[in-house]
C-alpha cells in the first residue's frame, strides 16, 4: 500500500458518519440559528432578515413565559423523584435475595414499552371516572381532574415520565453500587452501624458522581419532554402542560411559524448547553474530591 492512499484511509472510515452528521446535525443546527433571525411573515419563499425581532416577539409573549415556567415545573417535579426513588430500588435490589432477576425485568419493563402506550394507559387511569379517582375516594377525597384541572395536569404528566424512567435509572445506580468496595461495609459493620447508617455514610458518598449523572441526564431529558404531553393533554388545559418542545412543535408544524419556532429552539439549545456545562463542572469537582 503506498503512502498516498495510506494518508486518506482515516478519512475514508470517517466519511459516512461525518456526511450523516453534517446533513442531519450541523446544517440543521446552523439553519435553526439562521431561521431565528429571519422573517417569513410577508412571503414564505422570500424571508427577510429581521435581526432580533423574533426574539423580541418571543420574549414579550406571555405564552412563552408560561411555556418556560411549565418546562421547569415539569423538571422540578420529575427530576428529584427520578434521582431518589430508583436509588432506593437499586439498593434493595443489590442484595443477595431471591427473584432478583424477576424484579429487575418487571421494573425495567416500562422502559422498553413505547411511551405512547404508557401515556394511553395512564390517561385511562387518570380518567374522571377512572380507577385513581376511585382509589382516592376511599380516603374521602373528591374526584380530581388529573388531566383536565390546570392545577394537577402537569403533576399527572410528570408522574408518567417518572414511571417510565424508574427502571432506567435503577440500572444506572445498580452498576454504580456494584463498584462500591465491600470492605467499606465490613468496616462500618465493625463500627456497629445499622443498615441505613451504612448507606448514608458509605453508599451515598461513594456514588455521588452517579447521583449527579442521573440528575443531569434526567434534567436534560425532562427539558426535551414531548410524547407524554402530545398523547395525554396536547399542552392543555389552558396551556398548563405546554412545555418548550411542544411549543416548538406546535409553532413549526401546526402554525407554520418558522421564525418563532426557531427562536424558541435556540432558547432550548442555550438551556441545554448550560445544563451540559454545569454537568461537566460538577463531575470534574466530584472527581477531584474522591
Amino acid at each position: 500500500m503506498n503512502n498516498f492512499s495510506q494518508k486518506y484511509i482515516p478519512y475514508l472510515f470517517l466519511l459516512p458518519a461525518m456526511v450523516m452528521l453534517v446533513i442531519f446535525f450541523f446544517i440543521p443546527f446552523f439553519q435553526t440559528i439562521l431561521l431565528s433571525f429571519l422573517d417569513y411573515s410577508n412571503d414564505i419563499y422570500n424571508p427577510v432578515f429581521a435581526g432580533v425581532e423574533n426574539y423580541k416577539v418571543l420574549l414579550s409573549s406571555k405564552e412563552f413565559y408560561t411555556v418556560i415556567f411549565n418546562t421547569f415545573l415539569f423538571l422540578i417535579i420529575a427530576v428529584p423523584i427520578l434521582a431518589i426513588l430508583p436509588l432506593f430500588v437499586a439498593i434493595f435490589i443489590n442484595q443477595k435475595i431471591k427473584f432478583i432477576n424477576l424484579y429487575k425485568v418487571i421494573i425495567y419493563l416500562p422502559v422498553v414499552v413505547s411511551i405512547v402506550v404508557v401515556a394511553i394507559a395512564f390517561k385511562w387511569i387518570y380518567a374522571q371516572e377512572g380507577i385513581l379517582n376511585y382509589f382516592i375516594s376511599l380516603f374521602n377525597i373528591n374526584p380530581v381532574g388529573w388531566l383536565t384541572d390546570t392545577q394537577f395536569a402537569m403533576l399527572s404528566v410528570a408522574l408518567v415520565t417518572v414511571y417510565k424512567g424508574i427502571g432506567y435509572y435503577m440500572m444506572i445506580y445498580l452498576s454504580a453500587l456494584i463498584g462500591v468496595p465491600k470492605d467499606l461495609y465490613e468496616a462500618a459493620d465493625v463500627d456497629g452501624a445499622n443498615e441505613w447508617h451504612k448507606h448514608l455514610t458509605v453508599t451515598i458518598p461513594h456514588i455521588m458522581p452517579t447521583i449527579a449523572l442521573v440528575v443531569t441526564i434526567s434534567s436534560i431529558s425532562a427539558l426535551k419532554v414531548f410524547a407524554e404531553i402530545y398523547v395525554m393533554t396536547k399542552g392543555g388545559p389552558l396551556n398548563s402542560t405546554k412545555t418548550i418542545v411542544y411549543y416548538i412543535y406546535e409553532r413549526a408544524f401546526e402554525n407554520l411559524d418558522l421564525s418563532l419556532s426557531s427562536a424558541a429552539s435556540v432558547v432550548l439549545l442555550i438551556i441545554i448547553l448550560i445544563f451540559s456545562i454545569i454537568n461537566v463542572t460538577v463531575f470534574e469537582k466530584k472527581r477531584y474530591k474522591l
Partner: protein, 281 residues
C-alpha cells in the same frame, strides 16, 4: 438469623410493591380489554377479573387496524436504523481509536458536540432538509422509509461507545495481521468487529429500543397511513375510537406484544449490568 430474615423480608415487600406499581397500568389495560360489551368499565368499585370474559375487543380492533403492517413498518425502520448505526459507528470509531491523522481531535470534538444538540431543537430544519431531498412518503414507500431512518442513522454516542471498545483490544493482534498482509479494511472487519461483538450487541439493542419507540419524528414526517409505525398507529387509536376504551386498551396491548417478546429474549443485555456504558442523555 432472625435479623437476616427480616432484612430479606422487608426488601421483598418493597420490591413487590414497586413491581405491582410497575405492572399495574398494563394489567388495568388488559383487564379493560377483556371486559364484555355489557359490562360497565367505569363501575365503582373497579374490578380486575372480567365478569363476561371476551376476546371480542382484541378481534374487533385487529380487524380495523392493520397492526401487521404497522409492525412491519416499525421492523423495517428499526432494523435499518440499527444496521446503519452499527456500520457507521464502528467505521468512524476505528481511526479515532487507532490512527494518527491531521484533525483527529477536531473531528472527535465535533462528533461529541452533537451529543449536546437535542434533536427537538433542530427538527424543523431536519424536516426541511428531508423534504428537499424528497425523502418523504409522498414520493413513495422507499423515500418514506429513508426519511424515517436516515436522520437517526448515526449517533455520536454509538461512535463513542465503539471507540471505547476498540481501545480495549490489544494492538498486537492488528500488527500481526498487518505484517501478514491484511488490509486495513480487513483488519477492521475480521479482527476488530468480531472482538467487539458484545459492544455491538449492546449498541444494536439500545438503538433498536430507541428506534422502535420513536414517536415525535414519525408523527412529523408521516402523512400516509400505510407507513405508520406502531407508536404512531397506536396514538391514532385515540382519535379513531374516541370513547371506546375497550378497543383502545386492546389495541395498545396488541402493539406492545412484539417488544415485550424481544425484551424477554434479550433480558440479559438489559438487566445484567453489561449496559453500564449505554447511558444516553
Amino acid at each position: 438469623m432472625i435479623r437476616k430474615f427480616f432484612k430479606g423480608f422487608s426488601a421483598h415487600i418493597f420490591l413487590i410493591i414497586i413491581s405491582i406499581l410497575s405492572l399495574f397500568p398494563f394489567i388495568w389495560l388488559i383487564s379493560t380489554a377483556l371486559k364484555g360489551i355489557d359490562e360497565n368499565i367505569f363501575e365503582y368499585p373497579p374490578y380486575f377479573i372480567p365478569k363476561h370474559f371476551t376476546f371480542e375487543n382484541f378481534i374487533g380492533v385487529w380487524k380495523q387496524i392493520p397492526f401487521l403492517l404497522y409492525f412491519l413498518n416499525s421492523a423495517i425502520v428499526a432494523g435499518f436504523t440499527v444496521i446503519l448505526n452499527l456500520i457507521f459507528s464502528s467505521l468512524a470509531a476505528y481511526p479515532l481509536a487507532r490512527m494518527d491523522f491531521r484533525g483527529k481531535n477536531f473531528i472527535f470534538t465535533l462528533i461529541l458536540v452533537t451529543i449536546m444538540i437535542p434533536f427537538q431543537a433542530i427538527m424543523l430544519p431536519v424536516y426541511l432538509i428531508v423534504l428537499k431531498l424528497h425523502l418523504v412518503d409522498s414520493y413513495g414507500f422507499a423515500s418514506g422509509y429513508l426519511g424515517l431512518i436516515l436522520p437517526f442513522a448515526v449517533n455520536a454516542f454509538g461512535i463513542f461507545l465503539m471507540r471505547q471498545a476498540f481501545l480495549t483490544i490489544p494492538k498486537e493482534m492488528e500488527e500481526a495481521a498487518f505484517i501478514d498482509g491484511c488490509s486495513i479494511f480487513n483488519i477492521w472487519r475480521k479482527i476488530l468487529l468480531p472482538m467487539t461483538s458484545p459492544t455491538l450487541a449492546v449498541l444494536a439493542i439500545f438503538t433498536f429500543i430507541g428506534s422502535w419507540g420513536e414517536f415525535l419524528w414519525p408523527s412529523i414526517v408521516l402523512t400516509n397511513k400505510s407507513l405508520y409505525t406502531l407508536p404512531v398507529g397506536v396514538n391514532d387509536l385515540q382519535g379513531l375510537f374516541s370513547a371506546n376504551w375497550r378497543y383502545i386498551a386492546a389495541g395498545s396491548i396488541i402493539s406492545i406484544i412484539p417488544i415485550i417478546i424481544f425484551f424477554i429474549c434479550m433480558q440479559k443485555y438489559f438487566v445484567s449490568g453489561s449496559n453500564e456504558g449505554a447511558v444516553k442523555g
